[in-house]
Symmetry: C2
């Protein structure tokens, strides 16, 4: 699965730490999701999408490996 978190962060001009604080997870969690180290729970995906005023599908996309 891929995601556009880095791009959305750039649009809002916020850091990983900023985003982490807003959705109340650790900065490393954001970093790990952003660099595809693991897949977030649906709660996190909904919160992340909400921060960006986008849908989950806008931010997260399934690929063949899923």
């Amino acid at each position: 699965m891929k995601n556009t978190i880095r791009i959305e962060r750039a649009i809002l001009n916020i850091t990983q730490a900023d985003l982490a604080e807003r959705i109340k997870v650790s900065r490393q969690t954001i970093n790990a999701i952003e660099s595809n180290k693991y897949i977030p729970s649906t709660v996190l995906a909904l919160k992340i999408a909400r921060e960006f005023n986008k849908s989950v599908e806008d931010i997260f996309e399934l690929d063949e490996s899923d």
Copy 2:
């Protein structure tokens, strides 16, 4: 977090086992998600929503406890 999987299943008239098979998880996983025993990963949420031709936000909704 709550979800409308049971309703969507009713609309499509498919069983938990059917849905489980379609998205390739165990029937117990569908049952557990449906009865809010745990939160699915984003991959599962995307697949479930896709089966129902709905968005993740249509199916899964954050509540205060999240």
